[in-house]
Amino acid sequence: MNTSFLLRRLGYGLLLMLGVVVLNFLLIRLAPGDPALVIAGEMGGATQEMLDSIREEYGLNKPVAVQLLLYIGNVLQGDLGESFFFNQPVSSLIAQRVLPTILLVITAQVLSIVIGVVLGVLAARKPNGVMSAFVSVFATIGYAVPVFWTGIMLVILFASIFPIFPVEGMQSVKLRDASGLVKALDILHHLVLPAFTLAVIYLAQYARLSRASMLEVLGSDYIRTARAKGASPRSVLFKHALRNAALPILTVAGLQFGNLISGALLVETVFNWPGMGRLAFESILRRDYPTIMGVLFFASGMVVVANILTDMSYRLADPRLRGKG
């Protein structure tokens, strides 16, 4: 891992984020109507005083270029604007909501990759076997099910038929003041259904992908070499083959992250999970644009960070890329 690569990657990430800021700015201005009204939000019940303060803060009476610079300056200072519905700075709103989303998204990502890869590897051992058939049927079905509908079905199932997992929120009301281990277990208990709902689509895709990737790797010369030196089938499969088959899986995992955040938005809405997606949903209903824009900015930032992490781990996993610019 060389630092100049990392620095370049970080710089590029910042540039992308600057792009998101400019896009946000343009969207508000391209929308029909008075930007001040748009920012105040249709349901915010904008008073004249409020509109004046918005015009002041965003410099809406100044030339567009100045407005853009002002806006960028605000964002650089961590000021994403004010939510007139919640009566709070957007940045602090997001700060309250970001951890639940990260918890949900990362749990779902880990679940889907681990289970998906295991299924895919098992399927690859017998390309025409039962497991292979299961993986491809499962992948096709997983692709076609709307994620919010899976969530709703699980809510119905677990709320009325098997009430073993909570279907709403992140913490139980009666355990609200609990701390430490009890709290953690409570959150984990609430996490099961949302995380599984979000994971299941991607799980199917990872299973299909890792099956294909393993089949390709298993046909390569170095696998024959490994067998020729007397490695056990398990070592051939999980050490020699999987290390190579993991490379395309890693690429997809990075690209998938944005979709995962989109999916989280729906899942959070279904399960009332108090994350950024739920916040976006609530703000959209109220036309609370500063909050929506803030969430878009922050969610894009998460994708950028995920992409950088993917690139770095890819370099660690593939020695052929190490030390290259």
Binding site: D221, K229, R243, P319
Partner: protein, 328 residues
């Protein structure tokens, strides 16, 4: 019989979309300790399948050993358990492959890959395996082996990689070493070095070597005995000098007359032989007669209907009606 490795009447079949085809038929070969057996023929003639059968690496399915025996020190490998084969592979017998560029795992260092082979068959700890790996790299002529052991395959040249493959193959002093076109992918100058290395290794370890090649030049340099294969059968077998000087089978004669090509690039394995028109017939189209008949300049009516068997006619064993009946 004091043969170390003995292949007897081996028949290997593959399930394809044309039904079951026979890739190897009645193949019998043997090799003694310290001896080098050359196996020659065009690509697709069954050389590599023979080697993979010995190693127990035939992809099953679609492939399977239908008949015959492969005996290593008297133990029939076709009856051995997978566990037993794992212990033998890389231990008692080892293989060097044609493509050094792709035969090493790209994500592990070459030192780790050699050390792994050592630890699979010897009771040594990781540090000792690592030292042994470095010593082996030194033995196969890789400069500053302690540094190179930490390299990944893509950091080495083709010749270097083939040396690594050889180091890995001989790491447990195998009794039988199979080299499948070990130099085809390499420059001519490097080819000679690899052959020298194999000869040294053989002198040092006393291994039997099976050298698979389509290059008669390599045979004349390395082999004690030669088996010529065509369409899944051995069609001529004798001491190397005999085959080189007095080839009997028309196909073997064609191969030998290609030798002048030695010195310049001997060409890829798929090259059509200049002296023999046509290509090896696809296995599912093999008929009742001699598989070579269609390409043979001396074809007789009998050749199209009756498969010639390997038998000593005159000079040495050959499978050809013409030689048998003396009109060729």
């Amino acid at each position: 019989m004091n043969s170390l490795l003995e292949i007897e009447d081996l028949r290997v079949t593959f399930n394809t979309r044309y039904g079951e085809v026979t890739a190897l038929d009645s193949v019998s070969l043997h090799v003694k300790e310290g001896e080098t057996l050359g196996v020659v023929g065009e690509s697709g003639c069954g050389k590599s399948i023979t080697a993979l059968s010995v190693m127990g690496l035939i992809p099953t399915p679609p492939g399977r050993i239908a008949e015959g025996a492969i005996r290593l020190n008297g133990e029939d490998l076709t009856q051995a358990s997978e566990k037993r084969m794992q212990a033998l592979r890389g231990g008692e017998m080892a293989m060097i492959f044609q493509e050094p560029m792709t035969s090493l795992n790209p994500v592990f260092t070459v030192g780790d890959q050699i050390a792994e082979a050592i630890m699979l068959h010897q009771k040594v700890d990781a540090a000792q395996a690592r030292r042994d790996a470095v010593a082996l790299l030194d033995r196969v002529g890789i400069p500053s082996p302690d540094v190179r052991a930490g390299d990944f395959p893509h950091q080495l040249s083709g010749g270097m990689r083939q040396r690594v493959m050889i180091a890995m193959a001989v790491s447990c002093r195998p009794k039988v070493l199979i080299a499948d076109e070990p130099t085809t992918a390499l420059d001519v100058t490097v080819q000679a070095q690899i052959f020298d290395l194999l000869n040294e290794i053989q002198r040092e370890f006393g291994s039997a070597i099976i050298l698979i090649t389509h290059d008669m030049g390599a045979i004349s340099e390395m082999a004690d005995r030669v088996a010529v294969m065509y369409a899944g059968r051995v069609i001529e077998e004798a001491r190397a000098d005999d085959v080189l000087d007095y080839p009997q089978h028309p196909y073997a004669r064609g191969l030998i007359s290609c030798i002048p090509a030695l010195g310049k690039d001997a060409g890829g394995a798929g090259d059509m032989l200049a002296e023999i028109p046509g290509v090896v017939p696809p296995l599912h189209k093999l008929g009742a007669g001699c598989a070579f008949a269609d390409r043979c300049a001396h074809q007789a009516p009998r050749c199209a209907v009756d498969k010639p068997l390997l038998a000593a006619h005159g000079h040495h064993p050959v499978a050809c009606h013409g030689v048998e009946e003396g009109w060729l």
